[in-house]
Amino acid sequence: MSDRTLSGKSSIAGIGQTEFSKDSGRSELQLACEAVHAAIIDAGLTPSDVDGLVTFTMDTSEEMEVARNVGMSEISMFSRVHYGGGAAAGTVLQAAMAVATGVADAVVCYRAFNERSGNRFGNMTGRITTLPPWLSWYAPYGLMTPASWVALHAHRYMERYGVTNADFAPIAIVDRANAATNPGAWFYERPITFEEHQQSRWIIEPVLRLLDCCQESDGGVAVLITSTERARDLPNPPAVIAAASQGATFDSEMMTSYYRDDLTGLPEMGLVGNRLWAQSGLTPSDMSTAFLYDHFTPFVLMQLEELGFCGRGEAKDWATVERLSLTGDLPINTSGGLLGEAYIHGMNGITECVRQIRGTACNQLGDVVHALVTSGTGVPTSGLILSKL
């Protein structure tokens, strides 16, 4: 392995979050400040120790507003990552690079929004006055929501491999079962059955039913990254960043990559997977758990294939409730995922994997050595492997 590697040099030393709700009752900036401050406290540091900030391009809380609220004094690095939920692990990549190169010593990545009570992504109708150029190829035809963009892609996958909507049920069932035992999850104590999945109404026929679509949430999440060397001496066990990568491939669009020869995969996630395995020296079978971005269930099956957990077209048979549950070979989305816990644009998947590595998750698995986290799919995306020290 080249000595130019990022692997192992930095760790997540602090995590913070607000409660997850449908109506936070406060500003997005306040949510961001609460989450960022909580991550700093969790790391055993003070605001003046933080010298880097990273968030999503879509986030409404300016880095300098967060800094002046939390009382940070000198910020030597700030950046943003594009492409909606595809940014989640990408923020940690930016932080890890800054720490590994000495550009910054302690970087906080944050994402906070009122996506349910405020600006809902699926509700284009009330707020669009002028279409952005890319949406002009879709909106005049009534293809205007993330669910519909994903479904037009996923239907091609279903046709190719004989997948039906019932094959997506295990993902929703596992997520909701995990949420049912997570007191912080929106769907706490509300698991679902296969029949309930199949009886839920169509959102986009014949691909997505209501229970295939993640919820919408208000809340904030933050993580603090510092050198692994320094993290060893901080109060919580470090979650070592064994690998981090972003991924974009030819002919990408933001959720509407319909022009490639093959529409039965997620090549951005394939690239991320290849980079993560190469960077870490690990393989899919080394993963103790995975948080697979689950805004819409079909793309979880496609991720399993792109990441090499199973072969092309095999996910519908491989992804059983037994295999993906807490007692299975590959427990996924142990907090309940975006479907069950909350939709904080994937950042809550990172914090959950940190808790699993620390041994403090509400649905704690046995000895968690390596955890995989992925970010939004169908867009230029990112991923992480976190490891026990």
Binding site: L131, S136, W137, A139, Y141, L152, H155, W202, E205
Partner: protein, 134 residues
């Protein structure tokens, strides 16, 4: 269905929307290597040429994916509608609606032909009907 959301037209895409007003479905073609591309963009990814012209599509194509959006309700779409991804016989793809096709009749691989629909807001869209009934 008297109106639809108005596309935002840029210098790179104006020819497409202008062509529709005279019921011509135009595809961008690179002057350098003659490859076709859609949606339109300024540079050819094959040969980097910035010179391009257009060809008029025959209007025939194949449905390679489709969906029936049920929720949420959208303005201008009071009735059931089908969104399709059509691959034109020339090889490029576009997102469109199927017209005079019921959800039960829609299939992957169905042959379709363009039908230019004029809307009240000075907009013409290339929608597609089944080849057999046109």
């Amino acid at each position: 269905m008297s109106a639809r959301l108005t596309p935002t037209i840029t210098q790179d895409t104006a020819f497409f929307w202008e062509g529709l007003k005279t019921e011509r479905l135009l595809i961008q073609r690179c002057d350098g290597c003659e490859s076709l591309r859609h949606p339109p963009r300024p540079m050819c990814p094959q040969c980097r040429s910035l010179e391009w012209g257009t060809i008029e599509a025959t209007g025939h194509g194949t449905v390679i994916s489709y969906v029936i959006p049920r929720h949420p309700p959208l303005p201008f779409f009071d009735d059931e509608y089908i969104v399709a991804l059509v691959e034109l016989d020339e090889g490029v793809r576009l997102v469109t609606n199927l017209v005079d096709v019921s959800p039960a009749q829609a299939t992957m691989g169905m042959r379709v032909v363009v039908r230019f629909e004029h809307f009240d807001n000075d907009l013409v869209l290339p929608l597609f009907a089944a080849e057999s009934i046109s």
